[in-house]
């Protein structure tokens, strides 16, 4: 019996040794048109990864040559998109504080990220000064992928 167990356990060790609310649908229209002329940044931030994602890169808000406001993800932008999309939000803090009942005063949706790299999102106007951060958000799992303070 002991010999039998020893043989079985030896075999196993060979394998182990190589291991070590109430729902309300919100509809948003995203304008992803490109800036005309040169884009001039007024605020810039560097993303800090959260929850083990590879999120990194530069984010900026600014105007194009015609004075239209845009939000930019730089060419070095990267996040976790293996399982779907992520959303970009302007936020009053580094924490995603949703309050759909009162119109989400601490958040402003910027756009949807479907691929890594450079992307522009047209804004209706200059972002309000209360929005001090950018958050990359995975709405399906309800977790942040990263955030950046805007300065």
């Amino acid at each position: 019996m002991k010999k039998s167990l020893l043989i079985i356990l030896t075999f196993a060790l060979l394998g182990f040794s190589s291991c070590e609310k109430e729902k309300e649908t919100i509809t948003e229209t995203i304008d992803s048109s490109k800036p005309s002329g040169a884009f001039t940044a007024s605020k810039t931030g560097t993303l800090v990864a959260q929850n083990g994602t590879p999120t990194a890169g530069t984010v900026q808000s600014g105007k194009d040559a015609s004075g239209t406001w845009y939000f930019k993800l730089a060419s070095n932008f990267i996040t976790e998109l293996a399982t779907g999309t992520a959303s970009v939000y302007l936020s009053t803090s580094s924490t995603f504080v949703a309050s759909p009942g009162s119109g989400n005063p601490d958040l402003q949706l910027v756009g949807i990220v479907k691929s890594n790299g450079e992307a522009f999102y047209k804004l209706a106007s200059m972002p309000a000064s209360k929005f001090t951060h950018v958050i990359i958000w995975c709405g399906s799992a309800n977790i942040p992928f990263g955030n950046a303070p805007l300065q």
Binding site: F16, T25, A141
Partner: protein, 285 residues
């Protein structure tokens, strides 16, 4: 006679409920089938670093068919197919589809006191490769929750077993290498799955077994985590199985599985109690 019955049990039930990870193979023309329902739900996600984070609740249901047939006294043909799987988060749509078909050819290297088997099992991407689960809260969030991993991969397994008859105890050990390929532009990390299983006849017609298995990644770690396709997933799995024999041919099988950090850290998967219940059928020539 008892010894023969015990041997039949080992060949008909024990190996199959563990996906053929034993040294026994089917005798010629012998058949084993199982229909299994598996369920889990969890908010506790272990990310690619092994850190636990809380997400919205993820749920998965799977109905699977498994079969094993003795082609000869040394060769067995096995097949496993998740015939219906659903995936979804608490605030996304539930998506569903077929899973990936796994076929296995198993060969008995030796059939003595320590039966040893080797097997090759290609897994085909028969499942839905992309299934977008849309948010029920807004019009823009969605997550890809496919029911198949989208790749062709190949499992090769070596296993050894031993019966301690007349003590109604058996033990098996196995090691499997999963050669993974790619889906779209992503190369999947290869995997090594190893484990030990101990089974015991508790009372008449009731068998219990426990297994510890280790799944680890081999080669470069994936840059992006994709838990639903199992890329970069590691764990130490602990499982318990209870089989109740009904007559000569049928049985009810109940299984519990949980990924843990015991030997290898649980990464890129949900920390969940995974339950399954199934009906098994066996027929000898």
């Amino acid at each position: 006679m008892k010894k023969i019955l015990f041997a039949f049990f080992l060949m008909f039930f024990c190996s199959e409920v563990s996906f053929g990870q034993s040294g026994w193979t089917k005798e010629k023309s012998n058949l084993f089938l199982s229909l299994d329902y598996q369920f889990y739900q969890s908010k506790d996600f272990n990310n690619s670093k092994g850190d636990n984070i809380i997400t919205d609740e993820f749920k998965q249901n799977t109905v699977s068919l498994y079969g094993e047939y003795g082609l000869s006294n040394r060769f067995s043909a096995n097949a496993h197919l998740p015939i219906y799987r659903t995936n979804g988060y608490q605030n996304t749509e539930t998506v569903s589809g077929l899973g990936d078909l796994r076929l296995e050819l198993k060969y008995a290297l030796s059939k003595g006191k320590f039966p040893v088997s080797i097997s090759v099992a290609p897994e085909f991407p028969t499942g839905a490769k992309n299934l977008q689960s849309k948010s029920t809260l807004n019009s823009f969030d969605q997550i890809n929750l496919p029911t198949g991993d989208g790749e062709f991969n190949l499992w090769t397994t070596a296993a050894i077993s031993h019966s301690f008859y007349p003590i109604p105890v058996y033990v098996s050990a196995f090691s499997s290498f999963n050669y993974r390929t790619k889906f779209e532009q992503r190369n999947f990390q290869n995997q090594l799955l190893s484990g030990v299983e101990l089974g015991y006849k508790l009372v008449n017609k009731v068998w219990v077994s426990g297994k510890v298995s280790v799944l680890n990644g081999i080669g470069p770690k994936p840059k992006f985590a994709d838990f639903i396709r199992g890329d970069g997933t590691t764990y130490t799995g602990v499982s318990f199985n209870v089989l109740y024999e009904i007559g000569k041919h049928y049985g009810i099988n109940v299984k519990y599985f949980r990924p843990t950090d015991l030997i290898v850290k649980s990464r890129n998967n949900y920390d969940a109690n995974i339950f399954s219940v199934g009906v098994v059928y066996s027929k000898k020539r």
